[in-house]
Subunit: 278 residues, 2 copies
């Protein structure tokens, strides 16, 4: 699994304050802890104030890269902000995200191609998430075709079939899992990703639902996700699932985490066994 | 999910002692707690002393049925013990189990047919578990054909593709999950079951692996399992998985368990939200 560490997100109040105050130490602490926990990319979202998103995103890229050789994920639907930040990245960052919306496909895909970035592709075509699997696949096919035409290889695409909450539609989880399998069957080289926590919106005991859904989604082929790598129970579920799916050679990651006393431990920031970074 | 409550098992020391001492209160307490927790069947295993298995199994059937209208699972490979106990059961019990071994297929299947019982069918042909999926499917096909010939309908069969520990073969989990999907594809009407805890044999933090594997297996079609219905974390994972797979209409079981304060609670015998009994 490739984890996109979700914590540097300007829609969180403390992060928005740190960005506004240019509090580099706060941001770098979040970055360092997620990176040490095994995040494959560190998501950077500066979208709280659209009028200064370009400046804020550039600042985030610079302060986070200052901690060491990390990989970044630029979380923006704003082509101008992405174009401003991309030249500062020392390795091509993950672009989070393109979608089937013309503004994002035509505005952002050229940047993805020009800078040689991997990119998340949302099965989304407008403001509404398509209700059926087939409608989502229509969007996925269009995005893959557009990416190929722009010279972006399938293996740089991280398709997100989009999960909605089971709180209002109990079929939403299965629809997403079927979506993972359908994308995998039709496009064997693309990666599959998700923002899993939507599945539990409006329901109690969300952490339980989110980590259980992570396991189900990995069983259906998910190989990437945006999540909190500092959540100990989530990480334990992830390590257990990798072992059970034959993705942990000689059980090394799992047994190392156990010996460190961290499997299934309650959530304690800073006390954890790192995930393996593929 | 149909749960087979596993706790009345003569290979457990306290249960063996209770059987030997004819301690009905001890056995009935185990039975009542599992039934109230939502077990669909209560497994009865009197195999610790083969020379008196028939008497012990008959005694177990009588004392457990005395608590009320419960469903039983007779856990024996001994046709004589089964033949002795079956006439005492007030509703046809689950037979645990037949296999591809001639002695069990020819010795036990006629009892299954005569008493109209559901039965677990293990993908096992001798003392060794077949190493490949195809070899297991050969056994499954032979068992289904023999059951049909004996008049046992597919929907009374609970096929167990057999899970081995990932501790010695990291492909064992995936092999089992592929087995579930293969049986489901070829025999849509049969049920799928498992003794999941084998998957973690020899590994640390087994409870984490077992409940994670339950989720993966349910995602692959498992609709029954033998497990401990008094394990709170296992039950929480099961309820979350049912909700996420669209098997919990209006989220009722999940939210009821939450309101009872029992989701994700540490294992406390006797303090739990019951599973829904289908």
């Amino acid at each position: 699994m490739r984890i996109i560490g979700e914590k540097i997100n300007g829609t969180r109040k403390t992060v928005a304050q740190a960005i506004a105050a240019r509090d580099a130490a706060f941001i770098q602490n979040l970055a360092r802890r997620q990176w040490e926990a095994g995040a494959h990319w560190l998501d950077l979202n500066a979208g709280a104030h659209p009028e200064r998103e370009s400046d804020d995103l550039r600042w985030l890229v610079e302060v986070v890269q200052a901690i060491g050789p990390v990989r970044l994920s630029l979380d923006s639907a704003n082509a101008e902000a992405l174009a401003a930040a991309l030249p500062l990245a020392s390795v091509p960052p993950l672009i989070n995200s393109i979608s089937g919306e013309p503004a994002r496909l035509e505005g952002i895909l050229p940047l993805v191609a020009r800078f040689g970035c991997p990119a998340i592709a949302l099965a989304l075509d407008g403001s509404q998430v398509p209700a059926t699997l087939e409608a989502r696949m229509v969007v996925v096919r269009r995005m893959v075709a557009a990416a190929r035409a722009a010279g972006v290889p399938d293996e740089d695409l991280y398709v997100d079939p989009l999960v909605m909450t089971v709180g209002t539609n109990t079929e939403a989880g299965r629809l997403f899992l079927d979506g993972l399998r359908a994308v995998r069957a039709e496009f064997p080289a693309v990666h599959l990703t998700a923002g899993l926590s939507n599945v539990s919106f409006g329901l109690p005991a969300r952490a339980l639902l989110n980590r259980t859904f992570l396991t189900l989604a990995m069983g259906a082929g998910l190989d990437s996700a945006i999540l909190d790598p500092l959540d100990g129970e989530l990480r334990a579920a992830l390590l257990a699932t990798e072992l059970l799916l034959g993705q942990d050679r000689h059980c090394l990651n799992y047994t190392r985490a156990y010996r460190a006393g961290k499997l299934g431990a309650p959530k304690v920031d800073g006390a954890f066994a790192p995930l393996a970074r593929p």
